[in-house]
């Protein structure tokens, strides 16, 4: 297993906790609205030829919450500053769900930040059809169950199996609270983002979607495709909103192929 490290980095006027692991071309990982879930199979596979850089989002229990960040666009601008100050750009990025929303905001604002962009089960655009599942109207348990189609997936059980400890409960609540703060209204999309994404030119972009995702519906992928006509779509079989843990082999093949 790749050697990983966790460090608190003094950057962008805050103390940002960052996980790093692997070696090779830097790859920025933006976790989803429930937070970083640990080093999984897909991390290990991609770390063979990439250095994974995983900032833990402000307000998610590790990095302090930043009061001035009130939207995903604010957060995207914050991460742009992080990239500039740490001299990480241009860099490849993978964003998951709300993390994909952040990555899309960053790309729309400054396409030169990135070499390649991977958006997995992305939020951020109003779906052309259907609705993004309202996680704020769900208990934590129901929310978690809706993130996957395959509840028997080994890594799903590894992350969420067993009873919920007080620490887990607190971290989930912090993550959901911060996501509420940023994404309550409009719910997990930005009406101007699609227009701005049309200006990213030929930035290589991959859209990854589990074919049974009932959290971010197919209409989300269609909205991204409409905004970024050159984007490549990879459907992942036997997976819902978390293809990276539900069908890691297919996910790794698709993403590693795109990034290589």
């Amino acid at each position: 297993m790749a050697l990983t490290s966790e460090a608190v980095v003094d950057v962008a006027d805050t103390q940002l906790t960052m996980i790093r692991g692997g070696s090779g071309k830097p790859l920025l990982i933006l976790h989803d609205e429930l937070g970083y879930t640990g080093w999984m199979r897909w991390n290990e596979a991609l770390s063979n030829d990439h250095e994974l850089i995983i900032p833990l989002q402000p307000g998610f229990g590790h990095t302090p919450r930043l009061d001035w960040i009130m939207s995903y666009r604010d957060l995207g601008c914050f991460y742009q500053r992080v990239i500039r100050e740490l001299k990480l750009g241009p860099i490849d990025v993978i964003g998951f769900s709300a993390g994909a929303y952040i990555a899309a905001e960053m790309a729309a604002s400054n396409p030169d930040l990135f070499d390649k962009v991977v958006l997995v089960s992305p939020l951020g655009l109003k779906p052309l059809e259907g609705e993004i599942m309202d996680m704020f109207c769900l208990t934590i348990k129901t929310h978690l169950l809706h993130t996957v189609w395959n509840t028997e997936a080994a890594e799903f059980a590894e992350i969420y199996g067993g009873g919920m400890s007080p620490e887990q409960f607190e971290l989930f609540e912090e993550a959901r609270s911060e996501s509420t703060r940023l994404g309550w209204e409009p719910y997990m999309f930005n009406p101007s983002l699609g227009h701005l994404l049309k200006g990213i030119g030929d930035l290589p972009t991959q859209l990854v979607w589990g074919v049974y995702d009932d959290f971010s519906p197919r209409g989300c992928i269609d909205a991204y495709k409409q905004a970024i006509p050159g984007a490549k779509i990879n459907d992942i079989a036997d997976a819902g909103h978390r293809p990276e843990i539900e069908n890691p082999d297919a996910f790794i093949d698709a993403v590693a192929g795109f990034l290589s």
Partner: protein
């Protein structure tokens, strides 16, 4: 003491089994709504308020909830405006306007000023954060609830007291031209009484502002703890808290016989009662609670706040997916009602049986404001009015006399915060813990 009458103004005709199946009143489909019945209910509740005034109550209280047959007061200021005109003496107490969910403090300042003017200074205005379900109904971001509450409150006080026009640029609210023409009749503004269910942050905020805090049917032990917390905070601000800083509201139903009272009083748990106000996923939306409150909740799996525990938040939530054994549910609800009566959190009986209990309660927590909370469920007009009559003619005079004998002063008679205290000295007690212990021992 100021003695008040309060009702949630329930929509009395919603099918109980639909509520039990839904596991809550909130989110019941409005396809169950009947305009003729609702029109009659609204008018009847206004009649109750007028009758309360005739019977000698000092105040009538209103509250506000949204999308919920548990309480039809979805725009409380409309009812308050009507009462301002059709009553003559009672204080109109709003407990309270949910500032973060209404999201328009300038409009709120105008509405309340009009009510105070029409009533010629009888308005007491209270504020609430709004229940969790109100955040969903009004699409109010729960993560900014506390901030918006504080900012809206501070803005309204300014709007009422600072000559305009002026411009306001806050974090959540922005106004180019603040200059409400109608200002409150009372100067500098109506008193503010704050209801709550024992959130320490709210109690602290009340103590900081010397606003009376009204416990909404809270159990006596924790109420004593929070009263002491309030008084300690008050001392930090240089004043001695007293009965004028505290209020208490308790569900009460009286009838001519104990048997009849118990039969009708069972409506307090109709559909699950207050515990079925909303389901866990609607009661505590993410971000609504402070970090400290979440930490406390996380450490107490079965612990309960607003009837919600970590276990419940970790459950699947949602309406019942399988057949409900309604008889079994009703038996459990009845057992819960009996327990609540033993704990003196719900009072049911004749005037003779409830008066001694109320005397004990006010001896322990020494409130300057005391409000009866009328029965819920399908109690008919006649039974509701008879309860109100018995309260007004028998219970209110007895309680008023007892309050006077034990020195309970209300906030309209004695302004909260007026009794100064030096830091480092021993403050006076605000509760009678010996009396509480005697009840617990019994």
């Amino acid at each position: 003491m100021k003695i008040a009458y309060f009702t949630e103004r329930p929509y009395r005709w919603v099918d109980e089994e639909a509520v039990l199946k839904n596991k809550a009143f909130f989110a019941i489909s409005n396809s169950h709504f009947d305009r003729e019945k609702a029109a009659a209910d609204y008018n009847h509740y206004l009649d109750e308020a007028v009758y309360a005034e005739e019977l000698g109550f000092d105040a009538v209280c209103l509250n506000e909830h949204h999308g919920n047959p548990f309480c039809m007061g979805s725009v409380m200021n409309v009812e308050a405006a009507i009462l301002a005109r059709i009553t003559n003496k009672v204080n109109i107490v709003l407990i309270g306007n949910p500032l973060p969910t209404i999201k328009h403090p300038l409009r709120m300042a105008e509405e309340l000023a009009e009510i105070d003017l029409i009533s010629k200074g009888r308005l007491v205005t209270g504020w609430v954060r709004g229940a969790g379900s109100e955040q969903f109904f009004n699409n109010a971001n729960p993560a900014y609830n506390r901030e918006m509450f504080n900012e809206a409150h501070d803005f309204i006080v300014q709007a009422w007291t600072r000559p305009g026009p002026w411009r306001y640029e806050g974090k959540h609210f922005h106004y180019r031209h603040v200059n409400p023409w109608a200002l409150p009749y009372q100067k500098p503004h109506p008193q503010m009484w704050i209801p709550g269910t024992l959130s320490p942050e709210t109690v602290e905020w009340c103590a900081d502002h010397a606003y009376p805090y009204i416990g909404l049917g809270t159990s006596l032990g924790p109420t004593c703890d929070l009263w002491d917390f309030y008084a300690d905070e008050a001392q930090k601000h240089g004043y001695q808290a007293g009965s004028e800083n505290f209020g208490y509201l308790i569900p009460t139903f009286v009838a001519d016989t104990d048997a009849k009272a118990q039969e009708i009083g069972a409506n307090f748990v109709y559909g699950g009662g207050q515990g079925a106000f909303s389901r866990p996923e609607h009661t505590l939306p993410s971000g609504y609670n402070s970090k400290d409150a979440i930490r406390n909740l996380s450490k107490q799996p079965g612990g309960s706040w607003l009837g919600i525990s970590r276990d419940k938040l970790g459950s699947s939530g949602g309406a019942a997916k399988e057949a409900v054994d309604y008889d079994e549910v009703r038996l459990k609800l009845r057992a819960g009602l009996d327990k609540a009566q033993r704990n003196m959190q719900i009072l049911i009986g004749t005037p003779d049986t409830v008066i001694p209990k109320i005397k004990k309660i006010i001896e322990i927590i020494r409130p300057g404001i005391f409000s009866f909370f009328a029965v819920q469920g399908q109690a008919n007009n006649e039974d509701r009015m008879r309860s109100l009559q018995l309260l007004g003619e028998h219970v209110v005079p007895a309680i008023r006399e007892h309050a006077k004998n034990i020195g309970l002063v209300d906030p309209l008679t004695q302004k909260p915060g007026i009794n100064k205290i030096t830091a480092g000295t021993q403050r006076d007690p605000v509760v009678d813990r010996a009396a509480l212990q005697a009840i617990l021992d019994a």
